[in-house]
Amino acid sequence: MSFSPEFAPDTESQWQDLDLDLQELIIDEMEYLVANPPGIHQDYVYRDFAHDAGGVRHNVFLRINVDHRRQRITIVGIVHIVRPI
């Protein structure tokens, strides 16, 4: 049985505020986690990545809750900052 990925309501609006390419990258991160779920004792993980676009660097930070009992992986926080390259 595989994990079902989902978004907490707060993070859905954070996600919607991002550029489309960053939205896609976050979906990719979640799909990677579904394919490579964290260990049984980990109830959350952080993922962050940098993406250069438009002459700036986007740092995106995700907090993802892992519910092993219900087999769900849920994004509970998204933060995006921009800085010069």
Binding site: F7, A8, P9
Partner: protein, 149 residues
């Protein structure tokens, strides 16, 4: 612990009494400050990975754990900011410090992390407990529709 105040004293002294040997020592100290900050950051990541992400028995303990980790990152960011200010001033005077770019990256990552407060996590977790989460598939389908539009 950082030695930024020692760095400041030595830098002021060197500006009053220029000396190549002292300047070289100051550069070595700057590199140690950078390497120390990076090592502290790595340790924080290890603590979180190995100890803090373990399941807690209650939501209240989860919140406490989140606040504890957040506080450690906050303290690290304050120290790293001080180190970066010195390193940037070295670079501005033509003395670039090795690994400074790595520390800039680490600082940016931690700043992003600190943008997500324990209260925000707690609120989102409560939404999840109440069954309000939305399947990723729905959002992915909406995204694809917007891209194709």
């Amino acid at each position: 612990m950082t030695a930024v105040t020692l760095f400041d004293v030595l830098t002021r002294d060197e500006s009053v009494r220029p000396d190549p040997d002292r300047a070289e020592r100051i550069e070595r100290l700057a590199k140690k400050l950078v390497d120390g900050a990076l090592a502290d950051w790595q340790r924080l990541l290890e603590y979180e990975q190995e100890f803090a992400s373990l399941s807690c028995a209650t939501p209240a303990l989860d919140d406490e754990r989140n606040r504890s980790m957040y506080g450690m990152y906050e303290n690290w960011a304050e120290d790293a900011k001080e180190v970066l200010a010195r390193v940037r001033s070295c670079a501005a005077s033509g003395r670039a410090v090795a690994n400074a770019g790595d520390l800039e990256d680490a600082y940016a990552r931690v700043r992003a992390r600190l943008g997500l407060t324990p209260e925000m996590v707690s609120h989102a977790m409560e939404q999840v407990r109440q069954g309000q989460a939305r399947p990723l598939k729905e959002l992915r389908d909406e995204l694809l529709a917007r891209i194709r539009a």
